[in-house]
């Protein structure tokens, strides 16, 4: 396969309490649809401190377990260490205009900043786009 590549940048705005987990799958699906990305990679990068994206199943019990795991990090440095440990960004492959990561896995924004308000997630779409 040899096709013309393009790269586009957009963003998602997510209102949070400052200590939460938010499933970004719907916004990701919508942004892929709007830009017409057919095949490639989508990368999610939260710009705010102490926010990061993990790829995992979004289920209340599991989110509680993740919180319990993060609570084992010393409180004073928890947000920075957690961000460094998991890395800020997450990438997903896109094929036929859909992310293809399996049934249960979703991009989940973890916000441990303690700051209530809107959080910006930069979205980089890379690949082959619909020309229409």
């Amino acid at each position: 396969m040899s096709e013309s590549l393009d790269i586009r940048i957009d963003h998602i705005v997510v209102p949070t309490s400052g200590y939460t987990a938010v499933n970004l799958q719907e916004q990701v699906d919508e942004i892929i649809r709007i830009h017409g990305l057919l095949k490639g990679i989508i990368t999610l990068y939260p710009n705010d401190q102490c926010c990061f994206v993990v790829l995992t199943e979004y289920e209340p019990g599991l989110m509680h377990d993740l919180e319990q795991l993060l609570d084992r990090i010393e409180a004073e440095v928890r947000c920075c260490v957690a961000e460094a440990l998991y890395g800020k960004d997450a990438s997903l492959p896109v094929d036929n205009g859909e992310t293809c990561q399996g049934i249960f896995k979703h991009p989940v924004l973890i916000d441990v900043s303690g700051i209530e308000g809107e959080k910006k997630v930069v979205v980089v779409l890379e690949g082959v786009f619909n020309r229409d």
Binding site: E57, L69, G102
Partner: protein, 138 residues
């Protein structure tokens, strides 16, 4: 610019079993014809992981993960598998220089964290870059 993608399948053989994908990675990069570029590797599913590490310290990583995220003590049924997968990650991005993935002494491993045998797992490789080391317009 060349774009090359391929999907392979792994048949799992139990929890925390590491599959060395280094030679597969080299073969795919070679097949792609890309000399300068990048390869993204994605493991499909919420419980596998991809690990880039020196083979000599793989056992140390394995012990750390098992100690930090034990099997029991969680709310979600197979939380340990999801938590291990989320921590280690299911995506790796590696530059390609002179037609070779830049591994710097590391090896690429696929890991299934759930106790599943004979389970099919997909891994997606996306390679893109220039086919020539010299032609800027390639």
């Amino acid at each position: 610019m060349r774009v090359f993608s391929i999907e392979i399948e792994i048949i799992t053989r139990g929890p925390m079993k590491y599959f060395d994908l280094t030679s597969v990675l080299h073969d795919i990069v070679s097949e792609s014809g890309v000399k300068q570029g990048i390869v993204d590797i994605h493991a499909v599913g919420a419980t596998p992981a991809l690990v880039l590490i020196e083979s000599e310290v793989l056992d140390h990583l394995d012990r750390f993960v098992k100690e930090y995220i034990p099997v029991t003590g969680w709310k979600h049924g197979n939380a340990y598998a999801h938590l291990r997968s989320a921590l280690l990650g299911t995506h790796k991005r590696i530059p390609i220089i002179n037609g070779e993935p830049l591994l710097g002494g590391n090896r690429l491993y696929f890991l299934e964290t759930r106790p599943v045998h004979n389970h099919r797992r997909k891994i997606i490789f996306l390679v893109r870059g220039k086919e020539s080391l010299t032609d800027e317009n390639n």
